[in-house]
Symmetry: C2
Subunit: 142 residues, 2 copies
Amino acid sequence: MVSIGELSQQTGVSTQAIRYYEQIKLLPAPKRADNSYREYDDSDVERLQFVKRARQLDFALGDIAEILAFRDQNEPPCQYVMNVMAQQISAIEERVADLQRLRDELATLHRAGLTMPEDIEMKQCVCHLIKTGLSNEVGNDE
Amino acid sequence: MVSIGELSQQTGVSTQAIRYYEQIKLLPAPKRADNSYREYDDSDVERLQFVKRARQLDFALGDIAEILAFRDQNEPPCQYVMNVMAQQISAIEERVADLQRLRDELATLHRAGLTMPEDIEMKQCVCHLIKTGLSNEVGNDE
DNA sequence: CTAAACCTTATAGTAACTATAAGGTCAAGT
DNA sequence: ACTTGACCTTATAGTTACTATAAGGTTTAG
Ligand SMILES: [Zn+2]
Ligand SMILES: [Zn+2]
Ligand SMILES: [Zn+2]
Ligand SMILES: [Zn+2]
């Protein structure tokens, strides 16, 4: 039996996060010692290790809860896990594409800004470009 | 003078977001009509358009507030804007690198999962791999 | 006997909103 | 005159996955 602090050390999950997981029922409420301290056993350690890794793979807590619910009901979660992974992968790919578009836009603006004067009215300067974007601005202002 | 609904339509920012921006002092509290409805003028429209675009570039509201504060104090925000853009760009690049690493890891696990059996104990199956990672698992289990 | 290093619960804060409740105002139609 | 619908108002709760803080109880070492 380990205390919450020891569980935290063994898993690298903070004690507050562990209590939070218990609160949202991702982890079962553990036994309590006479002093009302939480006491965890090996299966709790294993469960939390799984949660930790799944979080590192950026699985949502709701997805992790569903995966663990499968197991708790003696059904293999494998298929569900595969689905979540597939969804994660396409979500990430979309996010990366969005971010790269954004990065290109910012880089272009930044480059343009290097050649522009300061302007308190934000008409001649890079700030103006933020508002209008580059496309309608190259060479002809308004 | 335009109402909040008209301002919303002209800028593509929801009325709730507009009220929220007012609450956090990103936008000044506008005049009120006799019926206590908010009334906006052209400078409000322009300011909100700037905010909208900056948000599309994923500037944080705090950064946008600082940019607008420069202007409100008659100082050109250009330098600050350039700094924020530079920071944004490197933050995005780091995030993209992180996401790509994550994507690769998930894709590898997913591929491995296709060849693995279902296992309610999560020992032989892809779920197990989630817990341990791939590196310590290829070919030799425990 | 007291100080530290634990543990407990409850609550607030993070970012940038969205959604809802409960109500007031206004123009149009019957 | 009255009702319907589309506006507007404020206040509050919810989203995600936690972290941080407050205010206190317990245990161990010096
Ligand atoms: Zn499995
Ligand atoms: Zn222009
Ligand atoms: Zn400027
Ligand atoms: Zn193994």
